[in-house]
Symmetry: C2
Subunit: 140 residues, 2 copies
């Protein structure tokens, strides 16, 4: 193990390992239930703003823009705890979710399970209720 990977894995310095696009992966879970709500990305600025403000900020790859969760939808996230993983290329946010995390209006983005079948795997809905109507919330 090189000294830099040892420092990254065993040290107390926060040394995010950004990918070629300048991003780390963020897994966001509901601090109350443990459910995974979403998987998103953060750049350096999103990390800094999240730590400084206690609100979840992300970087949207599709819009190429920094984004405070809930700024359009009102479905904000307050951070309870942030962790980083062994090689510091991912963070885990435990949050209090206001309303729904998913842009489809559902509490979690993970509203379908993958089921084994005789042919191709199939999906089945779980926790599929919408807490808001996306057509209303995102209308400008």
């Amino acid at each position: 193990m090189s000294s830099s990977s040892s420092e990254r894995e065993e040290g107390l310095a926060f040394l995010p390992k950004f990918d070629a696009a300048g991003l780390v992966t963020c897994v966001t879970t509901d601090a109350a239930t443990g459910d995974v709500l979403m998987v998103a990305h953060m750049n350096d600025e999103a990390l800094r703003k999240t730590i400084a403000t206690g609100d979840a900020w992300y970087f949207s790859r599709s819009r190429n823009a920094l984004w405070r969760k809930g700024e359009s939808s009102g479905q904000t996230q307050r951070v309870v705890e942030m962790r980083t993983d062994c090689d510091q290329d991912a963070v885990w946010l435990r949050i209090e979710q206001q309303g729904a995390a998913c842009h489809t209006g559902r509490r979690s983005c993970f509203y379908r399970k993958v089921e084994r079948s005789a042919d191709e795997p199939r999906l089945a809905f779980v926790d599929a209720d919408r807490l808001f109507d996306p057509a209303t919330v995102y209308r400008k």
Copy 2:
């Protein structure tokens, strides 16, 4: 919303959206505690093998190889449930972990929390006990 994104978000077909490297992100949590154990990647073959066998298979970007979790360390993962997210570029595996998920010997890769400080953010260890000695387990 295009018909293909509607199908991907609201349909029952499993249509993983692989990135340029042919991968989706996988978040693996302990089915008993809800803790995030690791974040890894899967290619098409890893997804298929995971679904077919009920053991967790991943694709290692650093080793450029398919990998059954625990094949070196014995720390295997049995799948309780697999879910996919709205746009199907990530999966969430709820598993039963044999021993430790992290190559450092810890139960979870997320054994440090990020703390706000006056200067730069700092890390603090949580759940830092090692369940195995990596020097022994990975010695060939």
